[in-house]
């Protein structure tokens, strides 16, 4: 505390656009096609990051401030499986990491959050503290520097409409769309998924129909954490696993959810497209340094104009009389 290198002082990562890794910031030449393509990629990336948080909040009303920590933890677990337990093939490591993250999220609810369910303030502090403990614990345990990387699924790139796109990014977009479709089908046609949607719409009514709200909360935290892990294994190959990214993921996830409306899945997707394209456009026409400013301004504007977010319900904002 008495020297400049305090814990929490981030390294020179900002120049490196955290999810683009060590490559130089994108020099988009202002070509429309490139903006469109990278806009889509950025948007899907943001929605992958935020969906986990949005899901957990809408179903269990728990703001999971450990979301970013779970993201990094999933990446680290994958790395461990690949590099320390060399026997594991990549796909297996990925599936295992996602599953483990989901389980850890569920356990976090089952043993800690369940005791303070309903006390929003305590839930926020507890999830924040757990997230912090995970991230700083990882930092202390050795997660420093740029050496922790995950290999891309398919190396190389391809030219689409004149723009160079990595295969990894194409996989990201594809996986993102796939997971949206899967989630949609799950919550509309599967009994458990329908129960989750029921609780998300009206907890009391769902409970009266026999849906156990603790069970759905556990499931939602498992799925939400799993989604964080899913996003991690897709996105981290683009760069390296650093603790700072955990905080950034949390910031972006919260920003997207607040702008889209806490509790609305559709809002999350729409907001991620808005912010995604806004970021790409500022990058193309101003400079890559402004991406965080975009997030900050977007939140402030949302709070000033429509605080409940794009699809948020105003009545959610104030207490019941």
């Amino acid at each position: 505390m008495s020297e400049k290198g305090w814990p929490g002082h981030p390294p020179q990562w900002v120049e490196l656009c955290w999810w683009r890794g060590q490559r130089e910031p994108l020099k988009i030449k202002g070509a429309d096609v490139e903006i469109l393509i990278y806009g889509i990629i950025n948007s899907i990336t943001l929605s992958l990051l935020s969906l986990g948080f949005a899901l957990v909040y809408s179903i269990s009303r728990v703001p999971n401030f450990a979301h970013g920590a779970l993201y990094i933890m999933a990446g680290y677990i994958t790395w461990l499986f690949l590099n320390k337990f060399i026997a594991f093939p990549y796909p297996f490591a990925i599936v295992l990491a996602i599953a483990l993250t989901g389980i850890i999220g569920a356990l976090m609810y089952r043993f800690i959050l369940i005791r303070i369910r309903g006390m929003e303030i305590s839930e926020i502090i507890a999830t924040y503290a757990i997230g912090l403990a995970i991230l700083e614990g990882l930092r202390w345990g050795g997660l420093r520097g740029m050496t922790f990387t995950l290999p891309p699924f398919v190396a190389g790139s391809v030219k689409i409409f004149g723009a160079n796109i990595d295969y990894q990014r194409i996989i990201i977009v594809g996986s993102g769309i796939l997971i949206f479709v899967l989630l949609y089908l799950f919550t509309h046609f599967n009994k458990i998924g329908l129960a989750l949607r029921g609780i998300a719409q009206d907890e009391r009514a769902a409970m009266m129909l026999g849906i156990d709200s603790d069970m759905t909360a556990i499931i939602s935290l498992a799925i939400g954490s799993g989604l964080a892990g899913f996003a991690a294994v897709l996105l981290l190959p683009l760069g390296s696993i650093i603790v700072e990214a955990g905080y950034n993921v949390l910031i972006f996830a919260i920003a997207v959810c607040v702008i889209g409306g806490l509790g609305s899945w559709g809002g999350t997707v729409v907001a991620s497209f808005i912010i995604g394209f806004a970021q790409i456009l500022t990058e193309a026409f101003l400079s890559s340094h402004y991406q965080m400013v975009v997030a900050l301004l977007a939140i402030i504007i949302t709070l000033l104009i429509k605080p409940s977010g794009i699809f948020g319900k105003q009545k959610e904002l104030e207490e019941r009389v």
Binding site: M1, P10, I116, E120, A126, G137, W140, I299, L303
Partner: protein, 338 residues
Amino acid sequence: MDKQSMRKERIDRGLKVRTEGIYAISSSREILYLLGPRLLLIGGIILLPFILELAPYWKRVVNIMCVYALLALSFDFLANYVGLVCLGGSFFTGVGGYLTAIFNVNLGLPIYLSIPLATVGGAVLCTALLLPCLPLRGVYFAIITLMYPLLLTRVIEALDILGGTNGITGLDSFPNGYVEQYAIIIMMLVFLFGMRRFVNQDIGLVLRGVKDNDQSVRASGINVTHMKLLAVFVASFIGCFSGAYVAHLYMWAGISLFALDFSIIPIASVVIGGGGTLVGALIGSFILVPLSEILRAFGSFRIVIYCAVLTGFIVFKSEGIMVYLQRKYHQFERWVKV
């Protein structure tokens, strides 16, 4: 003792009852009962630097301890008296610190002007930035206060303003060691007792009403948003002062003023020291900060420990040290037959 037919009973001590109202000054025993703890606190803290003459390093720690105590005080006030949970105390320290750096270095104002100006200006700025989320539910306030320090850090680095990663150097230091030491100790005591008076004044009661039932306050014709505004102003006043002090202590203002330490240690101090008793915030930081120094060797692991302890206290709904001590001081328990 047959526990089945006994129950525990908690009664106010005789001494406490005898000190209610005018009877408090009836004899030295009663006066001592009431004033004792307060005198102990004030005297102890003021004498501390002298006691520590032998260990100059620890005198520095006392300064930092008081800084965190102030931040914990503002968190306790906001969370337990107004119902607003501020997860980003470092927002206040950062704003206060950078403002005093601008006043001192860029505008050339002397330290005894730049600190007050930074405190007031910082309070105004922080309140203005937090204004949009005040009419909303408590969750939004927590989220926004969490985000601001993280976002501002990244914005400062990205745009390389305000000194970027190097920060602003060359701030004036305090005239001498005693001023440095006692400025913060005196201010801490002033704010502590000031806040205690404040929350018991009529306006403080209105703020506490906002925490208990804000619909009822609205139905009484009071604009709750304005009340929250006032509360945030007071809390950020305290926080920005701490930030300005820290900046001059290290003669440097950088993004580490937005560090997580300034956010999480106050929260842990309040939870451990006893929320709702403003003194508990002080006690908590008096315990945590020296502990943190002792654990310095562990690096970031300290934060892991704080968070684990914090979660433990929250989950097991512990009442905190001060609340426990107050209960023991004012009441005694005994088993009685049912």
